[in-house]
Subunit: 138 residues, 2 copies
Amino acid sequence: MSDLLERLRGRGWRLTAQRRVVAEVLDGDHVHYTADEVHAKATELLPEISRATVYNTLGELVSLGEVLEVSTDGRAKRYDPNAHHAHQHLVCSQCGTIRDVHPAGDLLADLPTEERFGFQVAAVEVTYRGICPNCSAG
Amino acid sequence: MSDLLERLRGRGWRLTAQRRVVAEVLDGDHVHYTADEVHAKATELLPEISRATVYNTLGELVSLGEVLEVSTDGRAKRYDPNAHHAHQHLVCSQCGTIRDVHPAGDLLADLPTEERFGFQVAAVEVTYRGICPNCSAG
DNA sequence: ATCCTACATTGGACTTTGTCTAAGTCAAGA
DNA sequence: TCTTGACTTAGACAAAGTCCAATGTAGGAT
């Protein structure tokens, strides 16, 4: 994620303070913020950044394949900067914490041809649900 | 799903016209309506039914385990009456059509212990994405 | 270094999806 | 049939996200 800005500039991105700040907030692994959380953190770094810009920038990062959009709960979407390593998610049913995980096996291959109904199947998303150590410690 | 109403009455449900109509709309397999779609169809059968009641009833059916809540796109949740047969979903990336599918193998077992981070993993949801025959025929 | 302009940002209105509440209605047991 | 607590209703409210016209600015052109 560190040279993200350079990569994006190479792709014709105009490098504004706002985009820099959004990228900075997303930097770091194991981060799964909502758009509003990104906006809150971005505001600390650049007080006048607007919500619309955060949404725009996140949308662009998703289109460019630099960030993944994850919606594990039907509430706000979360943004996952770990787009360059295939992974799935483990979500705590109680507190909502998300961990990146790496299941064994070929998940796509698990779907038999006769269960594909003529679809060109391209991707698979897996969400494991359970109770995290913190919550089960009660 | 046919004797759903009887099952629910046995559990102390009060059997109102509104609930009957919502259950009737959900009846049938391979149906994955949004709450608003359920409301629209319910309105055809019982014009004075309110949005709040549809939401309430769907929520109750989910709590009772008679219907599954599916959110494949971060937009409106969809309601899946096929709750009594474990299955996963195959979604068309273009038109949003959803099919129930049955992957091979034990999906839960695919998550190694060292990838569970102390969670008590209880469930797994899989969404396959691709292009449906209709859309690829374009 | 300055200018230009197409692209980016802004604030606020608007939309979609869903929740809540107070008042009225009714299913079903007594 | 009466009663009562559960159910329903309309509409206000809330959360998450989109859209737009006006304004600002990054970066190439001069």
